[in-house]
Each structure stands twice: as C-alpha cells, then as structure tokens.
C-alpha cells in the first residue's frame, strides 16, 4: 500500500518534471526541472533496492553533470536568451505522433501484463536473494567480473576530459 502510493507519487513527479523539461521555455528552468526529475528517479532507485545507484545518481548526475549544464547555460545566456523564433522546419508533428505511439505502447504493456500475471516473471528469478549490502555487491561485481568494462569506462572518461579541454580552450 505504502509502496504503491510512493511509486505513483514518484512516477507522477518524474513524468511531470519530464514534461516540464521538454516544454519549458527558459533553459535554466529546464535544468532545474531536470535536477528535480533526477532526484525523483534516485528515489525510485532506492525503492528498487539500489541505494548505491541512487547515490551515484544524485552525486554524479544531479551534483556533477547537471552543474555542468547549468554552467554552460549561464555562459551562453549572457548575451541573449534562448531563441524564441518560430519553428521553421521542426517536426513538431512528429512529437505528437510519437506521443501517440507511446500511448499505444503503454496500453499494450498494460493489456499484456493484465493477461499474464506478474508472478510468472517473478518465478523466473534465477539467482538467490542478496543478503549483504547493495554497495558491496555492486563493488564486487565492478571490480571482478566487470573489471575490463570498468577500465574502459575510465579510459572513456579520460578521453572525454582531454577532449573537453581541447574543445573549450581557445588556443592550445
């Protein structure tokens, strides 16, 4: 019961903030809504038992990446606001088509899930329930089975860092 209320509230917030991100006129408002959206998503992660992921979401996404967005928005907003000129070739109609597709998809999932009880999927769970803390498990996986992807990710970040410096510097 409590879980349901929490989920529906959070889902409403996530989707509401998502709509605002996509529709807001002012870019800074978009960023603020994005942060709110991310925080709600972090709570969803907590509900799903992924505390570490939730913290990473807040720390890296909301606290790091979006600060970067805000930084850039403030830098480029100095002279003039976001373009208010009317659309020329934007496919805003595509958006509505997509919305319709999404509606269809959701209703399909709902119909499908109603036809097939959830317990069938739950029974398919193979591995036993974790008893130790979530952080330890994730850490263990990251540094053993997924060590190579982990290193690749760190290389990717390094490359991205160098690339960003090169792009942002006026002359090298």
């Amino acid at each position: 019961m409590f879980e349901s209320i929490l989920f529906y509230t959070l889902a409403a917030f996530i989707l509401g903030f998502g709509v605002l991100v996509v529709t807001a006129r002012n870019t800074v408002h978009c960023v603020v809504f994005l942060v709110a959206n991310f925080l709600c998503v972090a709570m969803i992660y907590v509900m799903l038992g992924a505390e570490f992921l939730a913290i990473i979401q807040v720390l890296v996404y909301a606290g790091g990446i979006v600060v970067l967005y805000l930084f850039v928005v403030m830098l480029v907003n100095l002279k003039r606001g976001p373009d208010a000129a009317p659309d020329r070739r934007r496919q805003s109609r595509v958006g509505f088509v997509l919305a319709a597709v999404m509606l269809a998809e959701i209703s399909a999932i709902l119909v499908y899930s109603a036809a097939r009880p959830a317990s069938a999927v739950a029974a398919a769970a193979a591995t036993p329930l974790q008893t130790v803390g979530n952080t330890e498990v994730v850490g263990m996986l990251l540094y053993t089975d997924y060590l190579i992807p982990f290193e690749v990710a760190s290389m990717l970040l390094l490359v991205a860092m160098i690339g960003a410096i090169l792009l942002a510097k006026k002359e090298i």
Binding site: L75, V76, L78, K79, A168, K170
Partner: protein
C-alpha cells in the same frame, strides 16, 4: 574560465571596495580584466574655484576637505605655499610642531590605508587593529586642535596655538605603542602565504613607467625610485632630522605595502627626533594682519601620506583672494596608473590594486 562573451561590469560608484565613489567600468573576459575605464568626479565640489573666492586665511579650512583623512598635510602644503609667496619666516618651534603633526597624520593615513587594503584582500582583523591605532592619533589631534578629522590646524606664518601641556608626553607614549603594533600587523600579513600570493607580482609597474605616469609617494618608491619631497626639497623641519626613504624592488602591490609599513617606523623616528629637539619660542611668525601676498605665482610641494601634494597659487597682489589656485593631488595622479595596472588581472586584484594606490576620492575629485 571559458571566454564566450565579454562582460561589462560597473564597479562603483557604490561598491564596498572602491574607497568612496570611484567608478571603474571593467570589461571582463571571464574574470580577467581586458579593459577598464576609470570614472571620477562623483565627489567634485569645485574646491579650486571655491578657494579663488575665499580670502587667504579661510582657504586653510577648505583644504581640510580635500584629503579628509590627512587634513593636516593639506593644511601644511597650503600654508607653506603662501609663506613662500609672501617670504614669511616661520619660527623654528612652529616648524617642529608642524612636522610632528604631519608625521602623525601620515601614521593615521597609513593606518586607514592598511586597514582598508587588508580588508579588501579579506583580512578583516587587520582593519580593526589599524583603526585602533588610528583612533589614538585622532585623540592626539583632538587634544591639540579640538577636531578629529578636519583640523584646520595651521595658520599662514605658524600655528594657531601651542601644544597643550603634557601633549608631547602623550605623543611619546603613542610612539612607544605604535612600534609593537606595526610588528603585529606584519605578523598577520607580511609572511602570510595567502597575502603573499595575493600581492606579489600583482600590478607590477617598473620604475621608469612609474615616473612617466607621474606616480609619487609610496607607489613610486615601491617601484624603486627614491623620490621623497621631504629629502629632495626639505620643507618644515625635515632637513634637521635623520630618516630613511624605504624603496621597493619589484614595484608590485607587495612592495608598495612594505614601503608604507616601513614609513610607519620612519615616521615614529622623525616624531621622536622632533620631540627631543623641540625648541622653545613663538609659534607664529611676523604676519601682517591682512594676508595679501604680493603679485606673483609659486608652486610648492610637500610629501603628503599619499604622495607629492603640490599647490600652485597665483596672486595678483590687489584682491585678498588668490588669482589662481591649483592643487596637484597625489591621489589623482596616482589613480592614473590604475587602468594600466589592472589590465590582465582578475576582478579580485582590482580591489587589491585600488587599495594599494591608496586614493581618497575627496582629493581626486576636489
């Protein structure tokens, strides 16, 4: 920082660190200053024109209002110029007391500079420490002439009144107090790493450029030019005293700071010598009842706390007001360097540099 746009920022005339109503229009690239316009005149009261409509004795009072943190020095410059114009011999005792007053004034002015300069860089405690000592100087002035800021303390030909009994003793006590206090300021700042980082290499101006711009006083001496009117063209009783002219090497903010700190000590030295040799005698020379200098013009400069304070006065010999009255205020001339100094530095350095030039807008705008 990225340099997407140029940001024009209007620093002042209402800004905590522009020392009054200085306005600096900064063009920023990120936080780096790429250009600036220094706008003055917000405190213009027409002092020079005003003086041309007052008789010679009343002008002393107006000079108080120029560099209002160093009123006695302004008085001294004016009365000496008129004395030069009229060839009046000033009694030796009066010259000694004038020297003491001028040096006390230098200490008070430097205290104010040190406090505000340190405050601009963020060291808030030094501000109150320096004001504590300035308060003592003001007390001395109050006892001498009754005023704490605008003293009106000198007259053409000498002084309006002799020192009150026991005053010299108090000045001596103050000199004993000040020495350790200056050491205390130095403990807080001189070897402080943050202070060094904030001042070293900031706003460097080489000696010949400083001369070319027309700097004077501590900013000039900080650049290594040993020019001091007290030594080069002695006035009052300076010729009779033994003191050093501190000079800097690099010409940066730190050197200007060190020069002024050393001037505290030299001022104490001068005051002590003056008190030791204070002669007896009259305090007012032979001055006609109505001061009316003969026709002619003259320029006379003194070393005010902020630099060379010069008066150019022309008299037509007929009216009892100056025909032309012109001041060379040290702050005004030193301020010329600001635009050049802050170019290429950060916003934080702008306030440090305004502080290191030690300007008083009352004097800049007159």
């Amino acid at each position: 920082m990225f340099d997407t746009n140029e940001l024009v920022i209007n620093m002042g005339p209402q800004h905590p660190s522009t020392h009054g109503v200085l306005r600096v229009i900064l063009r920023l690239d990120g936080e780096r200053v790429i250009g600036s316009d220094v706008v003055i005149g917000y405190l213009h009261r027409g002092v020079e024109k005003l003086c041309e409509h007052r008789d010679w004795a009343q002008i002393v009072l107006i000079t108080d209002r120029m560099d209002y943190v160093a009123a006695a020095s302004n008085n001294l410059g004016y009365v000496e110029t008129v004395e030069k114009l009229m060839s009046i011999e000033v009694p030796r005792r009066a010259r000694y007391i004038r020297t003491i007053l001028a040096e006390l004034q230098r200490i008070a002015s430097h205290c104010l500079w040190l406090g505000t300069h340190a405050m601009d860089i963020g060291a808030m405690t030094v501000f109150l420490y320096a004001f504590r000592e300035r308060e003592l100087v003001l007390d001395l002035f109050e006892e001498y002439c009754g005023a704490r800021l605008t003293y009106n303390a000198m007259r053409v030909g000498g002084l309006p009144l002799d020192i009150p009994p026991g005053w010299d003793r108090k000045v001596r006590d103050f000199c004993d107090i000040l020495g350790p206090k200056v050491d205390e300021y130095e403990q807080l700042l001189t070897h402080n790493r943050i202070w060094l980082e904030r001042t070293r290499g900031v706003g460097v101006i080489p000696g010949e450029d400083a001369v070319a711009i027309g700097l004077s006083g501590p900013p000039l001496r900080g650049s290594g030019i040993p020019r001091d009117v007290r030594k080069d063209e002695p006035y009052a009783a300076y010729a009779e005293f033994d003191f050093d002219i501190p000079i800097g090497a690099a010409g940066d903010t730190y050197d200007r700071y060190l020069v002024r700190i050393e001037e505290f000590r030299q001022s104490v030295r001068i005051i002590r010598q003056a008190l030791d040799g204070l002669p007896e005698g009259p305090i007012l020379g032979k001055v006609p009842r109505l001061i009316k200098p003969p026709a002619g013009e003259t320029y006379h400069a003194i070393e005010a706390p902020k630099g060379e304070l010069g008066y150019f006065i022309a008299s037509d010999g007929k009216s009892n007001t100056p025909y032309r009255f012109r001041v060379r205020p040290p702050s005004f001339c030193n301020l010329q360097a600001l635009s050049r100094l802050i170019k290429g530095h950060l916003v934080a350095d702008v306030v440090a540099l305004i502080g290191s030039l030690d300007i008083v807008l009352g004097e800049v705008d007159r």
